[in-house]
């Protein structure tokens, strides 16, 4: 949970998607916050160490980066082995997301993976490789037919900073 007003102020500035397309994003953030660039970098590094920020980086749109065939592949794995299957599947470079989720009526699958391929054949080949790692009794590939929405969550939209918010690192 994030409570520190300085952290919240920093997060609000860093999530501006245009910021990282400027030549000196952390200077720009420092200017907006009225902090030094060293303080912006140090606090950002702390949020990264704490795992609040998973990473700084770029997200591709897979279909525009040569990965036009994508599927959510779900696996029915014995509950006792789901953890092991999740670790094995997530180690594959073409798996971007991997979770254990509850099964529901008519859908007996508990391990979820997002899998990316450059062609339909490539995708099927990757799924076949994954099947060897999964130890699943059955699987199902739900191919992506249409993207209706893809966005990043925005945090602290309605947060109002205290007039004298602390910026101590």
């Amino acid at each position: 949970m994030i409570h520190d007003p300085g952290d919240i102020a920093l997060i609000r500035v860093l999530q501006d998607e245009g910021l990282f397309l400027t030549a000196r994003p952390f200077h720009e953030a420092a200017q907006r916050l009225g902090w030094s660039v060293e303080e912006v970098l140090a606090r950002s590094a702390t949020l990264l160490e704490r795992g609040v920020i998973r990473r700084f980086g770029a997200a591709l749109t897979p279909r525009n980066a040569g990965f036009r065939h994508n599927a959510m592949v779900v696996w029915d794995v014995d509950d006792k082995k789901a953890e092991e299957a999740g670790s094995a599947l997530s180690g594959h470079p073409r798996v971007s997301h991997c979770y254990i989720r509850p099964r529901f009526e008519g859908f007996p699958f508990n391990v979820y993976t997002m899998v990316h391929g450059s062609s339909r054949e490539d995708l099927e080949a990757v799924i076949a490789e994954l099947a060897e790692r999964a130890g699943a009794s059955r699987r199902k590939a739900l191919h992506t037919l249409r993207e209706f929405k893809k966005s990043s969550p925005v945090y602290f939209i309605n947060y109002r900073a205290e007039p004298a918010g602390s910026t101590t690192a």
Binding site: M1, I2, I11, L14, D16, E17, F20, L21, A23, R24, P25, F26, V37, L41, S44, L48, G51, V52, I53, R54, R55, F56, G57, A58, A59, L60, T61, P62, N64, A65, G66, F67, M72, E83, G86, S90, P93, S96, C98, Y99, I100, R101, P102, G106, F107, Y112, H116, K140, L142, H143, T144, L145, F148, K149, K150, S151, S152, P153, V154, Y155
Partner: protein
């Protein structure tokens, strides 16, 4: 921008920045050094990749749970003739971050991030009511292994 229009420098930049944007005062200088171009060119090329839709976002990726938020995946089966209407109602909620039509049953899958489980419940109820749907399966992750699109661009 089709894949064949990416040259070797674009591909090098993509493979570097997916995993790590430098936490440095002059990050593009650093990126340029790694990819063998100037900082200005690295910035120009990253902007171009964003404009072309190859890169969706550059910046920090947050862990919703550590931010104190709850997240889930929802699945619902919708007759094809109504799927666009239902999808537009789903999309209208800012808490919905991803929404995809997939083959098979269920056929509409969307993710919700909100301040609490209760808030997610309210978003789902609102969607059901306005879209005229029932039986949305709400399947939050019990365990997360990986959330990282880091695809080697060749």
């Amino acid at each position: 921008m089709a894949k064949h229009m990416l040259d070797s420098i674009d591909k090098a930049l993509l493979n570097i920045i997916q995993g790590g944007f430098p936490l440095k005062a002059e990050p593009y200088e650093e990126l340029g050094r790694m990819a063998g171009v100037s900082g200005d060119e690295a910035l120009f090329r990253v902007r171009r990749l964003v404009e072309a839709g190859v890169v969706r976002k550059v910046g920090p990726f947050f862990d919703a749970r550590k931010m104190g938020s709850a997240s889930t995946l929802c699945a619902v089966h919708v007759p094809l003739e109504r799927i666009e209407h239902v999808a537009s109602v789903v999309n209208s909620r800012p808490e919905v971050t991803h929404n995809y039509q997939r083959d098979g049953v269920p056929n509409l899958w969307f993710t919700v991030i909100a301040p609490s489980k209760e808030a997610i419940g309210e978003v789902v109820s609102d969607i059901c009511e306005r879209a005229g749907i029932r039986l949305v399966h709400n399947i939050p992750a019990a365990r997360m292994f990986k959330v990282k699109v880091d695809l080697k661009v060749e």
